[in-house]
Symmetry: C3
Subunit: 312 residues, 3 copies
């Protein structure tokens, strides 16, 4: 009856398509609580432990807002150096204590696999708030919700993922999640140095997903339903001049859109923060959805909190 009660949210790979669709459906049902003028009491008396041992503003505030929107309470860590971590304590002891202080925990930690480790020792459900370079499951869910709500479907869409496909954790989670849908076509657009990893490509092949690799968005922009842009970090390039050469190709601005003429229904997304991947003048074009993603993020996190606490 409450299939997500006490479940940990560690990796998007732990979910079936049916489960994801269920989460997205519940996320949209949260809109009533989000917009209601009378405060929700759905999670009244419940406490979220919001443990961000690595930098985050948006994800942390989004989770905390979601908890408050449902009437719950929040205890928060947002400063790693200034905590018992600085006294040399290991994460597993920290979680073993903090689980007595709250009913659900969201955690971001630099340690690879930290959320899974936390889930192993914790009696309360653990939600991964972004872990190392690999996982960011709630980002993938909010990306999916954005696409689904904007197109009223996910099946059959042509979706471009651009920028740093090798190290970016959001694109990997999203590519995996999209591979659960039917008739999806993926376009990977990146410099050769930052191509999608072979293991991800192999797993897409195994799922029968069609994908194409490009170094530039020009040949295919007009075909795309969605362009998902991400940041390319200078530090990834051994030679800074290499970065200078390629970075311009992963910057999307008004001129580009005017020249390449995307579909009427085309949207551009970005996990944010952006540096200069999307021109500021694009914010006012009808394609921009990257700020609306922030809104969908609150809905997804409201749903997840209510689900793992067994309240929906």
């Amino acid at each position: 009856m409450r299939p997500f009660k006490n479940r940990d949210i560690i990796s998007i790979k732990d979910f079936t398509r049916e489960e994801i669709d269920y989460i997205l459906e519940k996320s949209n049902e949260m809109e009533v609580h989000y917009k209601s003028d009378t405060p929700s009491m759905l999670l009244a008396g419940k406490i979220l432990g919001s443990l961000f041992f690595e930098p985050s503003t948006r994800t942390r505030l989004s989770f905390e807002s979601a908890m408050h929107k449902l009437g719950g309470r929040v205890i928060s860590v947002s400063n790693p150096e200034f905590s018992s971590a600085a006294k040399g304590e290991n994460l597993s002891d920290t979680i073993s204590c903090i689980q007595s202080y709250c009913d659900v925990i969201v955690i971001r930690h630099k340690l690879e696999g930290s959320s899974m480790l936390a889930a192993e020792v914790s009696n309360v459900p653990i939600i991964c708030g972004g872990s190392g370079t690999k996982e960011h499951p709630t980002q993938a869910l909010l990306d999916l919700l954005t696409i689904k709500n904007e197109f009223e479907k996910i099946d059959g869409l042509k979706i471009g993922l651009a920028g740093d496909l090798k190290y970016g954790r959001t694109v990997k989670s999203l590519a995996y999640a999209l591979s659960l849908y039917n008739n999806i076509e993926l376009y990977f657009i990146s410099p050769p140095l930052l191509k999608m990893r072979d293991d991800v490509l192999k797993s897409l092949n195994d799922s029968g997903i069609r994908y194409h690799e490009y170094e530039n968005v020009e040949p295919i922009l007009s075909k795309l339903d969605v362009l998902y842009a991400t940041r390319i970090q200078k530090e990834r390039f051994p030679d800074p001049s290499e970065y200078q050469k390629v970075s311009g190709s992963y910057r999307f601005d008004k001129k580009l859109f005017e020249r390449l003429k995307p579909k009427d229904t085309f949207i551009i997304m970005h996990p944010l923060p952006r540096v200069n991947e999307i021109g500021y003048e694009v914010d006012k074009m009808p394609y921009a959805r990257y700020f609306k993603q922030a809104y969908y993020g609150v809905l997804v996190r409201m749903a997840l909190l209510a689900l793992v606490l067994g309240k929906i």
Copy 2:
């Protein structure tokens, strides 16, 4: 009917005298909620985004307390280095996302004009929590509320502003606000190097406000109704020996008050933190109001939050 609903609070200069009087009246009405033993639900279901990208304890906690006193919730940033600001994101993108997480935002940021910038992109009302060297509108309002409640009027008072009049943002906002009242007489007491700026003096002239400039409080202390002391920073003086020479003249202690005999109704105020501008023994003298200002600050911020959220 709700004249302040959705309004931004960026600068004290945006308000007429009538509007300020209205805010002060509403602030005093908040005392019922402040002192009530049954918790207020006036802002239940509303979330304050408390974004302090620059150091603050008092202003941040005062706003957060005000929100809680009215039954609202708070999400908070108090650590600039440890946030997406550190990843190079610009303020306007940060606000464009965070506005989805809350119903009203208070912001302090080192960038001059940051609150106005935030107000331009935000769909939720923005309140300036102190911005660069120029604005601190809620401090000016709480200063006015202190004066009004202690004297049952503001018109006709003789008010001294002492210390760093050149760089201090609180004195500028307060001088402007006082200039809206009738028959005010201002006394500017500062070392020549830190005199009130010409543009402020010019605007006082234009408003027909009488003011006098002194280097020392001695000749006029006995005439004053209010002395508003502020901190003088050593770093303002190119030559440290210059600082040593003048700083003693802007320190107000028991001896000084015993010698210069202020009026019975005289009060001394300070925006705090003080370093040594006011002797600690003065705390127990009948003149001290600088800690009571902190209390009035909560009332003002309760009123402003309720006003911009359209609940009063």
Copy 3:
């Protein structure tokens, strides 16, 4: 009728045995609120000022959780450098302002005697959250609650305190508190350099408490009801090789327990964070209570907050 209303909680030495027993009794009554599915409103409308000017995760989150569990609200400082402390303000001014923002304050500050100083200026009750090297009264209370609930008594128990007895503040507070009970026998186990201070021993003598000093747990482990382990800091030893020599003797692991055969009812406690004083494999042995202490800590802090606010 409300004997703790408005009382400050500064030192465990301020309490009689009767008062401590009353607090422990009230702490156990808090379990109903802790476990209830309908949120408690006992402290609704009340605000806790949670002021941690020194590193803490556990104690801070434990107090904040306790306040939320009873329906109260929290304003929080967890970053000393990033606050008005950095502008040179003294603690007494900070407290004089913040008392207007909340109904009760918990404070941790590096300054010796900071809680007492805060209590002198504050109109709202002050609870010490750990102060310098001397006091941590709520830790002592939760330690007592753990012992009392596990044995259904405290009188008559044999309790070992191991590790750094010279500088550790938790062992001193606990030794004092235990000295209030009848027929207690204390075993102090430490390297000579870190022996319990003479003044503490003298005061135990004065109370007629039996105690014994050992350098090693081996001869007496099988007699103990409780072993309270604490961390030994390398930095205490002028010569690092000295540390290497002794540290192994204050590490308690499965092998040790299998060899020395503690009583069936034996428990091992630790104030945490541990570094390597207790082997991780011990967590699953029936003796481990150090994580359960964290749970009791919430109950104790719920009771204290409700007591000093006059609600129980």
